[in-house]
């Protein structure tokens, strides 16, 4: 997961300005071990050029690649009560939150955007696994409700990129209550007759899978993404046997009838445009007419 910590950082880099640094960075593919130029990797949407392994991608990078010309407007998400339970484990929850905000450079684990994809106006939401494992708490719930409300108001489809370790334990029962809460958000889209497309990315697990992430009109997954309710380790402990190769991975779920499609990240954009336009009974997008994605 933490591929960014694997980079080789030659001492000399510290002499350059921050802007120039990425070109000199290497990232090691956690799957095949190939050393990849950071820039090359980012141009390839964080997919290993050697083995096609799909690494994590931040919501901002995702949106920059998704929206026409990389242009999108952030949809404001209402702030929830911070630390509603006054939760404390070995650390205080607000301290964990602050550390996550500092590390990820984001306010919370989901980003909502408004923009056009292939000249098709949409609302998109993306979960950020690098922020406390993308866990679903009040903020993520607020983000999904805000995304659905905006989609209904503007009569646009919603595309959601899921990635999460599950519910935010530090928000206890209130994180669990995001399951029915986000389900209501999906129902708002359903009743307005607006398409809701879910893209499951690595990994999407727990209460997230058991609510909004499994309720799409079309369910797409990125290759080899782990998608499950109970994680493989918990299952192995329960049934005391080794699980088969590829268990709970996107392709396995596709074989078991749990997904519509498994799609390479680089083909996702075109596929989303195509599906959305058909569901909205709009004419086929003319590819030549499309502005190129930003990178």
């Amino acid at each position: 997961m933490n591929w960014i910590s694997n980079y080789v950082r030659p001492k000399i880099n510290s002499l350059f300005s921050r802007r120039e640094v990425p070109e000199n960075l290497w990232t090691k593919c956690p799957e095949c071990g190939t050393m990849l130029f950071h820039r090359e990797l980012s141009e390839n949407l964080n997919v290993c050029t050697s083995c096609e392994h799909h690494m994590a991608i931040t919501p901002r990078e995702r949106f920059a690649a998704l929206f026409d010309g990389g242009v999108f407007v952030e949809v404001p998400v209402p702030d929830p009560v911070i630390d509603p339970l006054a939760f404390r484990d070995q650390k205080k929850y607000p301290d964990r939150l602050k550390a996550a905000q500092k590390a990820a450079g984001e306010k919370e684990a989901m980003l909502v955007a408004d923009g056009e994809v292939g000249r098709t106006p949409i609302i998109a939401a993306a979960q950020d696994f690098s922020f406390m494992a993308g866990s679903m708490g009040m903020y993520v719930g607020n983000a999904i409700v805000a995304a659905a409300e905006r989609a209904v108001m503007l009569r646009r489809p919603l595309v959601l990129f899921a990635a999460a370790g599950g519910a935010r334990m530090q928000e206890g029962i209130l994180s669990l209550m995001q399951m029915p809460r986000t389900t209501v958000a999906v129902q708002m889209l359903n009743e307005a007759g607006l398409p809701y497309i879910v893209v499951l990315t690595h990994p999407t697990t727990g209460g997230v899978t058991a609510s909004y992430a499994m309720l799409g009109d079309v369910q797409i997954a990125e290759p080899n993404a782990l998608i499950c309710f109970a994680g493989p380790r918990v299952i192995e402990q329960t049934i005391r046997e080794k699980l088969p190769e590829g268990f709970q991975r996107a392709e396995y779920l596709l074989d078991h009838g749990m997904l519509d499609r498994v799609t390479h990240r680089k083909k996702l954009r075109d596929e989303i445009i195509s599906i959305l336009r058909m569901l909205m009974r709009q004419p086929q997008a003319i590819v030549a007419d499309l502005p190129a994605p930003s990178r």
Partner: protein, 345 residues
């Protein structure tokens, strides 16, 4: 994450296997924190047994004194159970389970089986029944009461079939205008290979969705453990009530402790932090009512506990009946507003 962990067996007569309603001496299962109580009650019982053998002995005065001491201690212990003790009480094997409630509170119970897809899930009971003469659909998790039935019911851990059966029954209720009553008592959804292959997550998501789609009243009562998504799938009701010592949580305290404390033994701390008691959930606005349990918990007086649940269901049904034929908009508003205020508010 499974809620697990069995309480200690009876210590006043070790080795005596427990049986419900048995007249032969020990019928209690004591929890760890009830050990001092077990000693006093055991002593009183011993004295009376001695007196039965030897008629010349008059022990009644002493035994009555012990009874009083035990009653005082019981009151003291249950006056303010900490969250971890509540977890133990909520999981107590002698607590009345779904099956007991259905027998006690409903008539003409007609189980309806199967998801029409793959199988029938014995962890989930459900069917048509009458509640105070009103036809309803009742659905609940059944944990079982002894080793054999526990295995049979998979300890109340449902597989996708269970949720899909519930979806089918909720649909049936909706089409025929019957209120739905759900009884929640599960350590969580079953973490198994087949369950995952058959779409555990999707089944839970659809069941929760169904709860939010039916126009008829949906009343949920947490009678023991409300374990995570497996509970939400049935408990997304117009009204959610909890028994006084039941729990409802996003994760088991053991599971939470092993993840956040990296030490499963920190379950006391985790139980505290998670705010999983009925009292905290009422403050958070997640549940609507708390149903008082008899002194010493539902396990000490199953009939009284079941009767209390029955009266609460009757009240809630009356309340919801007055609201008209379609409860969906209000139910959705309720869940949309969920969590808007924290504990402090």
């Amino acid at each position: 994450m499974a809620f697990g962990a069995a309480p200690t067996r009876c210590i006043c007569r070790p080795g005596v296997s427990y049986s419900r309603g048995s007249q032969a001496g020990c019928t209690m299962t004591y929890l760890e924190f009830e050990k001092p109580l077990a000693e006093i009650e055991g002593k009183a019982e011993e004295l009376r047994a001695l007196a039965r053998k030897n008629e010349a002995m008059d022990v009644e005065k002493e035994a009555v004194a012990l009874d009083k001491k035990a009653a005082d201690l019981l009151r003291e212990l249950y006056k303010s159970l900490d969250p971890w003790r509540k977890c133990q009480v909520a999981r107590h094997p002698d607590r009345p389970h779904c099956k007991d409630y259905i027998e006690a509170l409903f008539t003409e119970y007609t189980p309806l089986a199967g998801d029409r897809n793959f199988a029938d899930d014995p962890a989930v009971m459900g069917g048509l029944a009458r509640f105070n003469d009103t036809p309803v659909v009742v659905i609940g998790h059944e944990k079982g009461h002894d080793t054999k039935s526990r295995i049979e019911h998979n300890f109340g851990m449902a597989r996708p079939e269970g949720y899909r059966k519930a979806i089918r029954l909720m649909d049936l209720a909706d089409r025929f205008g019957l209120p739905v009553i759900t009884l929640i008592d599960t350590p969580g959804a079953y973490p198994g290979k087949g369950a995952e292959e058959r779409g555990q997550a999707e089944a839970i998501a659809r069941s929760t969705q169904k709860c939010l789609e039916i126009k008829v009243p949906l009343i949920s009562v947490v009678i023991g453990e409300g374990g995570s998504g497996g509970a939400v799938a049935f408990a997304t009701g117009d009204r959610v009530a909890m028994l006084e010592h039941s729990i409802y949580s996003v994760i088991s305290p053991e599971g939470c402790a092993s993840i956040l404390w990296k030490d499963a033994e920190k379950m006391r701390e985790a139980a505290e932090a998670l705010r999983l008691t009925a009292q905290d959930l009422l403050k958070l606005g997640v549940i609507d009512r708390i149903i008082a349990e008899p002194l010493g918990g539902a396990q000490r007086n199953a009939n009284a506990a079941m009767a209390a649940v029955g009266s609460e269901i009757a009240l809630l049904l009356d309340e919801l009946r007055e609201k008209g034929p379609d409860l969906v908009p209000e139910r959705r508003r309720k869940y949309l507003a969920m969590g808007a205020k924290g504990l402090a508010a």
